[in-house]
Point group: C2
DNA sequence: ACTTGTCCTGTCATGCCGTCAGCTTACCGA
DNA sequence: TCGGTAAGCTGACGGCATGACAGGACAAGT
């Protein structure tokens, strides 16, 4: 399905080419972590990778294109977030645990990929469909699972009928993503990591079940 | 308090100068709405304002500096968000109304200033203290009011002692900001504006009081 | 009209962008 | 072993954005 990796001008990339390509991606990724997105220049990435700007343009149309590539790789990993919710129960003590583990996994994933996720977020907010789709891909797994859980509880009569599962799930996921993106911010707000997590889990649990968790 | 408006090289700006300066800010603001942040160039802003790049650099050190200026103006308006919470009650039906009005006001403010807020968000996430402070300034009013409300309920014994008001308030505000930033996204997720608002209000109410609202 | 200080722009050096022709390297079949 | 072919890389170039400066235009007061 993936087809071959190709250069901009249509040649197929061999072993060496793919290595160079990957090195450029790695260096770009590193640069994104260390300097503002607006200031990341092709020439710097190329220098860091020990090659020339022209080489960069052989493999990517522009910086944005390369960023999309990195994000794509990350999104594949991100699909693993589904596991945080698959087959979990939202009832009683296990419900509390489900919420906690979701928060934990989510924050961890975000911290690991914060630089690239910032850019994806920006692209999506600016209305770029490619970034928007990518953001969906990452969040959708969690979002759908949450929405399903709410719908299930609704069918059992444990959650009000006038709750819109998709809206609530989407809002909760957006909250998780936003808090994760500004994790450092919270600490200077006087809120420590360790305190943040249970409170987030509480909000998630409240949102899904409408009730306080039993701990 | 504001002192005089000054050019980069230290001169005080007169009437005409301030007008030009403001025009540049307006044009920059417009450009931010219509093209990606990364692609906004000084020369385009200057052209749009009917002047030259050199003039731009008389008033601002760079694009980022001008963005900070715009954001500062907006932050002043943003302080008005406090009114959404001042003296409001979180009990019974009025509690539900408080939540609704907060959500309404917040989304409205965000939609009106979405372009500049995106950039502020990015800057803050990238760790730039100037943007971070600005973001705080905007969100703090709402955040503090929410935290105070939770603390008050806690003192009355209506909210569990192990809830951290600052963490919950911060998370709720982050949720509002994130949902506001991706409002368009939700609609293509199959969630309409009108449906989104009450569900957001529900989450806010749940977070603050720990209970479902009485409508 | 002259002076003074503000305001704007022409111009220039510098540096990055994005492209191309052309050189080098690796692979493969004869 | 030896071309032949395609992959891989780079120097170089026109073009544009940046940022600095000096000098001209303009408004206001004398």
């Amino acid at each position: 399905m993936t087809g071959q990796v190709r250069t901009v001008d249509g040649r197929v990339a061999g072993r060496r080419g793919q290595a160079t390509r990957q090195k450029l991606l790695d260096c770009l990724s590193e640069m994104l972590s260390s300097s503002p997105y607006r200031d990341v220049k092709v020439i710097d990435v190329a220098r860091k990778a020990g090659t020339s700007p022209a080489t960069f343009y052989q493999y990517f149309p522009d910086v944005e294109g390369a960023v999309l590539e990195i994000a794509e790789q990350m999104a594949a990993e991100g699909a693993g977030l589904t596991e945080l919710l698959e087959g979990r129960s939202w009832a009683g003590k296990s419900g509390w645990q489900t919420a906690q583990e979701l928060v934990d996994g989510f924050l961890e994933f975000w911290r690991k990929n914060d630089a690239i996720l910032r850019v994806v977020d920006l692209g999506a907010a600016e209305g770029d469909k490619r970034f928007y789709k990518l953001r969906m891909k990452i969040l959708n797994s969690v979002n759908n699972s949450l929405a399903d859980a709410i719908t299930a509880l609704q069918d059992k009569g444990r959650v009000d009928k006038d709750v819109n599962p998709a809206a609530v799930a989407g809002s909760l996921v957006a909250m998780l993503a936003a808090v994760a993106a500004h994790q450092k911010g919270f600490s200077s707000w006087g809120v420590k990591q360790a305190e943040l997590k249970p409170n987030l889990a509480l909000l998630v649990h409240l949102g899904v079940t409408g009730k306080k968790p039993t701990k």
